[in-house]
Symmetry: C2
Subunit: 288 residues, 2 copies
């Protein structure tokens, strides 16, 4: 048998992302022993029973002290606290990486907190479903999907290469991007759409309280359109707060466009509306 | 052979909806001869070649003068002009119905313009794709989908029954609703979401002009979420204008919710954001 890519891997937060990565790596023979840590004991027990992890650690310190690689898959605002707790327990040469949707501030936090000889690599697999928890995890989640790594001037090249191989073993196509560009791009194509979807459901549901049976007709388009509003509230609270700069810029741009549309609907401006919809359709069809 | 439900049917606007209804009725043996009228000669020729219609009429008058039933499947703001042109050419007892997404104003227009002895029934099949034109039509489009009919105090019961049978033959589940309730419900579950999707694509694309390659990362969630922004711009211009009252009310409600969200993101109010996302998730999961 060939040596696995990683002998001992610790996953902190054994949910949809953490669980799916381990399943994929195990299926690929890329990992030896997997230790899990999770703030939800029930979820951790499920991970053990499902065979996703080989061992459930009782504490962060106990979980990471023999790890060759630590994967952080907790909500992005929990990363700093977790890293502060594990920093002094990590063995020399350990690689720490994450799967968070926000990178600039998170990468800065980790690079600041981790001591010399511990190698941090920021990562963001572009995959997920609106479900959460280890029971929702599956080995094929990352297959054919992009994974963005966000190395900086201080990133160790060997660690970066190792993390790249890890995601490739899970089936991902790996690309590198600087952390700020990452945060701007994903504010636009992911974070803003989630804010829009959550708000749409909120506004329509308030309307539904007044109008009987309104949601009985919300099958089809509305249900598909708002699927992302089923995503984990804690995860999205953290993303909204941690990427608030780029997100607020886009929210303002979006609100300005929406107000322009509202004014033209009120004014009955057919040519403007047709042009607006036509432009959006063309742009949307270009990415299809 | 048993008698078809309708001997001669004229479809004005032989696109996705008109074409699909005829295909479904022909498959069910529910229609005899089908005459098509369309402002796009090329689309009309395609309808003829595909066998969707049996005859292409050269004018509205020629198209409707022998019709037992006329189905109007043109953009909602074109209905009034079409009905004004055909009103004096319809044979006595003819049933006129439509498939428009807006009902209150449209039903009033048709009831006002059509002479005694011509029976109008407002309708709205809850089906469609983001594609348009007869080439995109297919017999199964309405199968298992709702179709809303919007009878008023002056609707002829026999004509209503006939139109109900028509949609049932096409596979739809028929329900009746008053026109104003219809317009309020669909402003919420369909018209507002389309405005939101068109605006989202617009705002993100403007951002993409500044940030290179942004749309390369827009696969997956963003592509699915914005699919409805590929819908026909003329159709949606008309819907926005003709249902502007209920739509503006919802746009204002939505903009208020969005501004509240923006303020809480700017203020870093985690508990509020989590609660907001949690409420939306719960409401969304209830309709899933």
């Amino acid at each position: 048998m060939t040596q696995p890519l990683i002998q001992t891997m610790t996953v902190i937060g054994v949910g949809l992302i953490g669980g799916s990565l381990v399943r994929a790596l195990k299926a690929a023979g890329a990992v030896g022993r997997v230790i899990g840590v999770d703030c939800d004991p029930e979820n951790l027990q499920t991970a053990l029973e499902l065979g996703v992890i080989d061992e459930a650690a009782a504490s962060l310190a106990a979980g990471v002290c023999h790890a060759d690689l630590v994967f952080l898959a907790v909500p992005v605002r929990s990363v700093e606290g977790v890293v502060a707790k594990i920093a002094s327990h990590l063995p020399a040469g350990c690689i720490v990486t994450d799967g968070g949707s926000v990178k600039l501030e998170l990468v800065r936090q980790c690079e600041t907190l981790l001591p010399a000889g511990i190698h941090f690599v920021g990562g963001h697999p572009i995959a997920g479903t609106e479900r959460s928890g280890v029971a929702a995890s599956f080995a094929e989640l990352f297959k054919g999907r992009r994974c963005i790594l966000t190395p900086t001037a201080v990133t160790n090249p060997h660690a970066l290469h190792m993390v790249r191989q890890l995601w490739e073993a899970a089936g991902s196509r790996v690309e590198c991007m600087d952390p700020l560009t990452h945060d701007r791009v994903f504010a636009a194509v992911s974070h803003l759409p989630h804010m829009v979807a959550y708000t749409l459901v909120h506004a329509v549901a308030a309307s539904a309280e007044e109008e009987e049976n309104i949601l009985a007709f919300s099958a089809g388009g509305f249900r598909d359109f708002t699927r992302i509003a089923s995503s984990d509230p804690v995860m999205w609270r953290d993303i909204a707060l941690m990427n608030s700069g780029p997100l607020l810029e886009l929210l303002d741009r979006y609100a300005t466009d929406l107000e322009a549309l509202r004014q033209r609907v009120a004014a009955g401006d057919g040519p403007w509306l047709e042009q607006f919809f036509r432009t959006s359709k063309r742009l949307r069809d270009e990415i299809a």
